[in-house]
Symmetry: C2
Subunit: 427 residues, 2 copies
C-alpha cells in the first residue's frame, strides 16, 4: 500500500436525497475528522445521485484522480441502491456471491422474527477481490478493495451503521499506513471578538511549525482549533500543541474558558459544583435561554435552583418585587432593573449567586436611546452586584445567545477569581 | 442556450475550509432549492480546496460532464483565491482588466473611508468573453460565461453576497430557459411518529403524479415536502399541489399544524394573539426551553406573561406553592405535580392558560417506575386542567425538545378547538 501524504483522498457521498435542498451531508465531516487524525487529508468530495450513469461518471473520475476513495451510501437492498454494482462495472470486475454473508444477513432478520425479503439477497454479493465487513447495525456490508492503483472503501450511508464499522474496521487498517501522529486541541474563548483574537495571536502563526491553526467565530464565542502533525511519536505531536497552546494562553489568559471541548455552561457548572455554590437566574429578553443552557448539562439540578422569565413589567413586579418606581423611572431595560433582578433572583431562591438579563432582542422595540441589541447583564454575589452594559449585533436569536453567553461568562470569571483582563464592553 | 431537463448541472464549492471537519457547506442547499424552483435539478456537487492543481482537475471534470456549472468561493483578493484564474486556465482564455469594475471596488472602500489594498486590484479582472455582476455586499464580482459548450457562473462564497447576487442576476437569467413551473409546500406535523404518518399516507404516493413527496422526521416533528412540476403554468403546478395537499389533510387532519413554513411556537403565538389570550409556563425538566422557544417569536411579549424554571422541590414549593404533601406522596415527576404546576403558573400570572412540564430528561435520575424520558405535560385552562403522560426516546436534549413540542401542541389543539384525533400517548 502506497498511502502517504501525497496520495489524493476522495469521499463520494451517494444518494439522490443529497442533491435536494433538504439534506445536509454530514458523514463526510466525521470521515474527514478521523482521516485527519491519521494525518491524512481529503482532496475532493463528490456528491452524486442514485442514477447509474452519473454514479459511474463520478466513480471513474475518482479512480483517475484519487488513490484512496471512500464511498458512502447506495448499498441497500432496493433498486435505487447501485454503488456496489456500478463500482464493479467501472473496474470491470465480477460480483461474487458469498454464502456466509447471506447467512449473516438472514440471521439478522431471524433475530427480529422476520423473514428476509428476497431483495436483500443482493447484499450478499461482493466485488471480485474485495474483503467485506459485517454490519452490526444494518444489513449492508462494507467493502475494502485494493486494486493496486486504488484503495476503495464502500460504507453504508446511515451514520449509526457507518461509524461503528469505521471505528472497528477502517481506521485500524489505515492507521498502520499513516506516517503522522496527530494531536488536536480546541481553545474556546468568550469575551473577545474574532478580530481582537487575531490581533493578539497573529504573530504566533509563523512560529507554529507543523501546527495548523483554524480560527472559527460564532456569536459570543471564538474557537482556535490547533492540529499538530508529528513524524516520530504522539508525544512529539502533543509537545508541539503544548508549546503553541502555552503561547496562546499567555496572550489570551482567562479569556479562554475551555481547552477540553467543554461548552461554557459546562465549565460554569463544574465551577459551581467544585465550589459548592448554587445559582438562580432572572431573564427578560433571553426568555428562558439562559436557564435552558444551564439545564442542558446533566446533573445541573445539583447547583441550579430556579429561574424566572419575567417578560412583562407586571411579572417583574409580581415575581421579583422589582419596584414599580424603578421601572417607571429607568425603564425595564436599564442598569437599575438588571441589578434589582439579579439581587431578587439570588434572594428569592436563597442562592449563592443571581444572574439577570434585561434588554431588547428585536427586531422591534428599539429606540434611539435604547437600540435593538442593548442588553444589561447583572451578577449578584456575596460581595455585591455588578452590571455590564452591552450592545450586541445580529438578529433576535443572535442577541439572545450573546446575552446568555455574557451572563455565563461573567459568572465564570467571578468563580475563577481572576480579574477581567480584556473587556470590550462598557460598564 | 440549450439548458433543458436533460442538461447536467453541477455545483462546485471551492475552499480548503470545506475539506476540514469543521465546515458544513450550505450555499449549495440554497442554490439547489432555487434551481429546483425553476424545474432544474443538480446532478453533481463537488467540494474542492484552494490548491490550483486540484481545482483545475475539478473544473475540467465539470466542463466535460456538466452543461451548467455554478462555482462558489475563491473569488477573494488573496493568494488563496484562485477560482477565476484557474477557470481561465482550464478554458485557455485570457483575463481582461475592467476599469469600471476597479472603480466600483475602489468606491466601496472609499465609502468606508478606507484605501483599497493593492491586492484587491485582481478582482477587476474578468475572463475573456464573460459578463460580470457587481457585488453590493462585498468586493468580489460574479461572472457569467457562455462558451457554447458550457454555461459557467462564478459566485462569491459568503452567503450574504451570493444570495442577493443570485436573486438579482442569476435566477432571472435562468428563468426564461426553465421548462417547468414549480410549486412547493411543506406540511408540518406534530403528535404522530414518522411510521404512523407513512401508514396513513403511503397509498397516496402513486396517485401523486408529477409531485415528489419527501418525508423528513425530527424528534417530535414530521415534515412532508411536496414539489410539483407543471409544463403549462404556475396555476397548474399549484393545482397539483392543492390536490395532493387536500388528500393529505383528509388523512392527517389537525395533526398538521402548519402548511406555510411556520414553526409550532409561531402557530401557537398567532392563535394566542388572534384569540386575545395570554400564557404563563412552569418548567422543570425542560429547564427554560419552552419559554425560550415561545420568546424566539418576535412580539411574543404581547401574549407571553411569564415563566418559571422550578428545578428543585424547594423552588416548586416557594415559587408555585406546590403542596409539600403532594410532592412527598407522588414525587416531583407525577401527574399531580404537573397539574398543580400548570394551575399555579396560570393563577400567579393571571394568564388565560398555564402550561407545565415535569419529567426525567436523563441521562441519570431514572428508575424502574419512572424511567428516563417519562414526562408529564399539563395545560390549565378556564375549563380545567388536562395532563398527558409521555415516554420520550432519545438523549437529554431530545427529551427536552419533545417535551416542549408536546406542550406547545397541546395548547395549539386546544386553541384550534378541535379534538385530538390521533394520539399515541396515554392519559
Amino acid at each position: 500500500m502506497r498511502l502517504n501524504r501525497e496520495s489524493k483522498i476522495e469521499i463520494i457521498a451517494v444518494g439522490s436525497e443529497l442533491l435536494t435542498p433538504f439534506f445536509n451531508e454530514t458523514n463526510s465531516l466525521y470521515l474527514t475528522q478521523r482521516l485527519n487524525d491519521l494525518g491524512l487529508e481529503v482532496s475532493f468530495k463528490t456528491l452524486v445521485g442514485d442514477e447509474r450513469e452519473n454514479l459511474l461518471k463520478a466513480i471513474r473520475v475518482a479512480l483517475s484522480r484519487s488513490y484512496l476513495i471512500i464511498a458512502t451510501g447506495g448499498l441497500g437492498p432496493t433498486e435505487d441502491d447501485k454503488t456496489r454494482e456500478t463500482l464493479a462495472e467501472a473496474l470491470q470486475r465480477k460480483l461474487i456471491f458469498k454464502e456466509d454473508l447471506l447467512k449473516t444477513i438472514e440471521r439478522r432478520f431471524k433475530r427480529r422474527r422476520l423473514e428476509m425479503p428476497a431483495v436483500n439477497k443482493k447484499q450478499a454479493y461482493i466485488i471480485e477481490g474485495s474483503e467485506f465487513f459485517k454490519n452490526k447495525n444494518g444489513t449492508a456490508p462494507g467493502l475494502w478493495l485494493d486494486t493496486g492503483n486504488n484503495v476503495i472503501v464502500l460504507l453504508p450511508g446511515p451514520p449509526h451503521e457507518l461509524k461503528p464499522m469505521c471505528e472497528e474496521s477502517i481506521w485500524p487498517r489505515l492507521e498502520k499506513f499513516s506516517r503522522f501522529y496527530v494531536s488536536r486541541k480546541v481553545l474556546k474563548i468568550a469575551g473577545l471578538t474574532e478580530s481582537k483574537v487575531e490581533t493578539l495571536i497573529s504573530d504566533l502563526y509563523p512560529k507554529a511549525i507543523s501546527v495548523s491553526i483554524n480560527t472559527l467565530a460564532y456569536p459570543g464565542q471564538v474557537e482556535i482549533h490547533l492540529t499538530a502533525h508529528a513524524l516520530k511519536s504522539m508525544k512529539e505531536a502533543e509537545g508541539m500543541i503544548k508549546k503553541i497552546e502555552e503561547q496562546m494562553l499567555a496572550r489570551l489568559g482567562n479569556n479562554i474558558f475551555s481547552t477540553s471541548g467543554e461548552e461554557l455552561e459546562e465549565v460554569v457548572g463544574k465551577l459551581l459544583r467544585f465550589k459548592n455554590k448554587t445559582l438562580a437566574v432572572a431573564e427578560s429578553c433571553t426568555g428562558g435561554l439562559l436557564s435552558n443552557r444551564i439545564t442542558n448539562v446533566p446533573g445541573s439540578a445539583d447547583y441550579f435552583l430556579q429561574g424566572v422569565v419575567v417578560y412583562s413589567n407586571k411579572a417583574k413586579i409580581d415575581s421579583l418585587d422589582i419596584s414599580p418606581a424603578i421601572l417607571q423611572k429607568h425603564g425595564a431595560v436599564s442598569l437599575q432593573v438588571a441589578e434589582a433582578m439579579a439581587e431578587a433572583a439570588k434572594k428569592r431562591a436563597n442562592a449563592s449567586y443571581g444572574l439577570s438579563i434585561t434588554g431588547i432582542a428585536g427586531p422591534t422595540g428599539g429606540s434611539a436611546q435604547k437600540p435593538v441589541g442593548l442588553v444589561y447583564v447583572a451578577l449578584a454575589t456575596e460581595k455585591g452586584t455588578k452590571v455590564i452594559k452591552n450592545i450586541f449585533p445580529g438578529n433576535r436569536k443572535n442577541v439572545k445567545f450573546q446575552s446568555s453567553q455574557k451572563a455565563l461568562d461573567m459568572l465564570r470569571r467571578y468563580l475563577q477569581k481572576m480579574p477581567t483582563v480584556i473587556n470590550k464592553t462598557k460598564e
